[in-house]
Amino acid sequence: MFQEFKQDKVGIIPCNGEDLCQGTLTRFACRKVLDSLRPHETVTICLPLFIAGDSGERNFAKTFPTITVDGCTKGCCQVTTEKLSGKPRYAVVISELLKERGMEVPPSKRTLTAKHQAAIDIVAEDIAGKVDAILKKG
């Protein structure tokens, strides 16, 4: 079902961690890549569809080169994608990325304010750079 996009799209898979502030960041950062930064080069899938969906959905990471985006070091998204779909090209862990950049994790999983936009921007730019790297290498 995804074959038509095979050569020019990268799959972005966020963990979406609903019980974690960093999970909220994965959602906002990935949507920024999908909607604004690389709208023509990226597609996404809901991670839980690897269990709830059909074989077409489970083939997502075999069909597209993928980037997993985890909120924390449990790495649920990377582990699950590897186990049920295919090995991602890159695995981003937001808690580690923000630590590297000396940034704090936003305190609320419910809302991200304008103050936290910088964290969203950093994560989104990092993902977009990895999209470019994948498409350049082919």
Binding site: P14, N16, E18, C30, C46, P48, K74, R110
Partner: protein, 134 residues
């Protein structure tokens, strides 16, 4: 120890329904049923995280799915747990077609009206479940 009601939203980010479900769960936990309700990341169930699995094994569970794919319910049931309640955001949306969320994650005024409607329904369901629980 007093049981909590575990309410698990789906991870949908393709349409506004997923975010409406998540925000309704946050409203329950932080405003309407503080102390009665817990949640966990759906993805933790997919890696067999022991704490997440124990939470849903030992407590009543309600799932909140954005769409008819029912990812949250199916992932909970995949662990062997039968859910005590299953909601779909799209049903609330169909009953309130005049309310149009602004965006997928930025829901806007109408989107948050849908959040409040769903949160109140979940609140009623939780009241019923807590009456049944010892």
């Amino acid at each position: 120890m007093k049981k909590k009601i575990v309410v698990i939203p789906c991870s949908g980010i393709g349409k506004a329904y997923g975010e409406i479900g998540r925000q309704a769960v946050y409203e329950l936990i932080e405003d309407l049923r503080t102390g009665d309700v817990a949640t966990t990341c759906l993805a933790r169930l997919m890696i067999d995280d022991p704490d997440a699995k124990a939470l849903i094994r030992d407590n009543p569970v309600i799932t909140v799915d954005g769409c008819a794919k029912d990812c949250a319910r199916k992932n909970v049931e995949f662990t062997g747990k039968k859910v005590d309640g299953a909601f779909r955001v799209i049903e609330v949306f169909k009953e309130n077609r005049d309310l149009k969320p602004q965006g997928i994650l930025n829901l806007g005024k109408d989107g948050f009206k849908l959040v409040h409607i769903l949160a109140r329904r979940l609140d009623e369901e939780i009241t019923g479940l807590m009456r049944k629980e010892p």
